[in-house]
């Protein structure tokens, strides 16, 4: 039995029509495919095609060569403390800055300025300021506050300080947006129920911020883990700041072994993935819904 034309038309009308706005996704999808998915897959395949040895030779080489596998630990040793410091300092400052005041704008601007400076510029400035003959050392020795030798560049500390300077504004801005998104009436309600400002932070703000903090931690960590220019300019690239990106750079552009470099890049990505997946899994312990106190 065939349907009448009217009924067919009605059925067609009931089906959701194709939304042409979906076409707007096409450029972004093409971009992702061409500049992310394809290079990633290409690199992954390349990492299993070493010039000599079996398909796992690059990975075997990485995990058996002393100046390669140790780069994971050295990079984590920089990235994790830098991330914890950035998130840890940004949280209380953003919390204080949540209330609109005369100073809020000024302080926020001041804190965000380093975002506009590149890592190389920060490194240049730090070499002048923190170096053995830099302003800081001269000032401390002149005022006899500290007489010993001060080395804050060309070592671990130089890179860590640089990561904090460049990473802090991101963490701060991100957390500030989470903090200001929490309805302030919740804190007022907590106050009328006997919670002082410390208790308001602990019981209201912190649990509601936790998912955002986890997200901020992940972004700050990924940024710090891929450290490269400051590790070279401010660190000891042959020693304690020989990070994983340096190993990949050397393999690619000094030994011209793209296959090994790809394998190192894959390992780098995997380590980031493990940390990010772990931190994001912690989010499941917390409430993730809207952060308002009800209707209104």
């Amino acid at each position: 039995m065939s349907a009448t034309p009217a009924a067919t038309a009605e059925l067609r009308a009931q089906r959701a029509p194709f939304d042409r706005a979906l076409l707007l996704v096409v450029p972004a999808t093409a971009f992702m495919l061409a500049l992310f998915i394809y290079p990633f897959v290409y690199g992954l395949i390349l990492s299993f095609e070493p010039p000599q040895g079996g398909w796992l030779a690059n990975y075997q080489k990485f995990f058996t060569t002393d100046n390669l596998w140790t780069t994971i630990g050295k990079t984590l040793n920089l990235a994790l403390p830098a991330t914890i410091i950035n998130v840890g300092i940004a949280l209380p400052i953003a919390y204080k800055m949540r209330v609109r005041s005369r100073w809020q704008r000024f302080v926020t601007t001041l804190l965000v300025v380093p975002i506009t400076l590149g890592t190389v510029l920060i490194a240049e400035g730090m070499l002048t300021y923190f170096g053995p003959k830099g302003w800081l050392a001269q000032f401390l020795q002149l005022t006899h506050i500290y007489e010993g030798s001060i080395r804050l560049t060309h070592n671990y500390w130089g890179v860590l300080i640089s990561l904090v300077i460049s990473g802090f504004p991101f963490a701060f801005l991100l957390i500030l947006s989470y903090v200001t998104g929490i309805d302030p009436v919740l804190a007022r309600a907590a106050a009328t129920l006997g919670a002082d400002s410390k208790a308001q932070f602990r019981h209201i703000y912190l649990p509601l911020l936790a998912p955002g903090l986890a997200m901020c931690f992940c972004l700050a960590f990924v940024q710090a883990f891929s450290v490269f220019p400051s590790a070279v300019l401010l660190g000891a690239p042959a020693g304690p700041t020989r990070v994983i990106s340096i190993a990949a750079y050397e393999a690619a552009f000094e030994q011209y072994d793209y296959s090994l470099a790809s394998a190192i890049a894959m390992i780098m990505g995997f380590v980031q993935l493990v940390i990010v997946a772990f931190v994001l899994s912690l989010r499941n312990w917390f409430y993730k819904g809207p952060v308002t106190g009800g209707k209104g």
Binding site: D183, V185, L186, R188, A189, A190, A191, T192, L193, G194, A195, D196, A199, H203, I204, P207, L208, F286, Y287, G289, P290, V291, T292, G293, G294, K295, G296
Partner: protein, 363 residues
């Protein structure tokens, strides 16, 4: 923190805000009020009249610009909100979205350091009082608006505060739920036997709930009186308008005899009762729609003649607009069979024509 008290005394409580361009304005001017234990006080007024400011000042959420607040003999206005111990119900409920219903209700007790073993039975009792049993482990987002409001009330009363502050708690509920919750609030107030300060812009809510109503305008108290008095004897034209005196006519004073005043307009002649001292030859009269009746007998005292201009059917009666030959419009309630365009005489008893000084507005 006290759980019991005799009275809360507000003495010339004032709150100023800096407006745009450095201009300072009084959101609340010299509010003086004594709230006794067991009383239900409604702060009533249009939005921006300072009623919520007054509530926030009592709660400690806004510091005072002047005046004092005393709970019995103790001065409490310098104390932060967490040390005043007043329960507060917010307009948008302000439930903690990450805590279950029991955690929300028990929050105040945990903050006071009450032992865990004692918290559970007290929370259960508060939940029974607001009829919420069975919802213990839901998150606020999983509750309906009415249920969220009950959680907010339970959370405020479980700490056994001397005073419960409510900031337009029913304004987000639908009409049916609003009536039900209103009755609940009155019942809970009676059972707790503490004091409640209730902010609203709805005169029906204030009339039905309160023992005393504080009518406010532009931060200034207009009248503090029992509901029946605010309803029948508004202290000034503003209160009269706000309490539903929809008919306001501006007339010329012809004669004053005691508190009786004879007034005249182009085609209106009315005798009324003076409520405030009059100044000048003009005065304003206020009349409720339900106090005007369609007269059947011959024209006599306090009769206004006009043409029926609009009839809104209201079931038991109709809301009728009549327009006098001079263009004055009167609203009244009358029989449902009145015909549009008919000429009618309406009567109002002189004691229900309230006469106030002319306020300069011609509406």
């Amino acid at each position: 923190m006290k759980h019991d008290f005799k009275e809360l005394k507000l003495d010339r409580v004032t709150r100023r805000f800096a407006g745009s361009g450095g201009h300072v304005f009084n959101a609340l001017s010299e509010l003086t009020l004594t709230i006794r234990r067991g009383e239900f006080i409604a702060l009533l007024g249009p939005s921006g009249c300072g009623k919520s400011t007054a509530l926030n000042c009592i709660a400690g959420l806004l510091p005072l610009s002047g005046g004092t607040i005393r709970l019995d003999d103790e001065r409490i206005d310098p104390l932060p909100p967490e040390r005043r111990g007043f329960g507060m119900v917010f307009q948008n409920y302000a439930l903690f979205p990450h805590m279950s219903v029991v955690k929300n209700i028990g929050f105040g007790l945990r903050m006071q350091g009450v032992a865990a073993a004692e918290i559970a039975p007290r929370v259960a009792k508060a939940m029974r009082l607001v009829q919420l049993s069975g919802q213990e482990h839901k998150l606020p987002g999983q509750l309906s608006g009415g249920q969220q409001q009950r959680v907010a009330i339970a959370r405020a009363i479980v700490i056994e505060p001397p005073l419960i502050l409510m900031d337009e708690p029913l304004s987000n509920l639908d009409a049916k739920l609003r009536l039900e919750t209103r009755a609940e609030i009155r019942r809970i107030h009676r059972e707790l036997d503490r004091a409640t300060v209730y902010v609203t812009h709805d005169q029906d809510e204030a009339l039905s709930l309160a023992d005393r109503i504080v009518v406010m305008k532009d931060g200034v108290v207009q009248q503090i009186a029992a509901p029946s008095e605010v309803y029948a004897q508004p202290s000034n034209l503003h209160v009269a308008r706000f309490m539903g005196y929809r008919n306001v006519l501006h007339l010329t004073v012809r004669e004053e005899r005691g508190d009786r005043v004879l007034l005249e307009g182009p085609d209106v002649k009315l005798t009324g009762v003076r409520k405030q001292p009059l100044a000048g030859s003009r005065a304003s009269v206020a009349i409720r729609p339900e106090e005007l009746t369609i007269a059947t007998g011959p024209a006599a005292e306090n009769i206004v003649t006009g043409r029926v201009d609009n009839v809104e059917y209201g079931g038991r009666d109709s809301l009728i607009d009549i327009v006098t030959p001079g263009g004055a419009r009167l609203h009244l309630r009358g029989p449902t069979d009145v015909a549009l365009g008919a000429n009618v005489h309406v009567y109002v008893p002189p004691e229900r024509v309230l006469v106030y000084p002319y306020d300069g507005s011609e509406d």
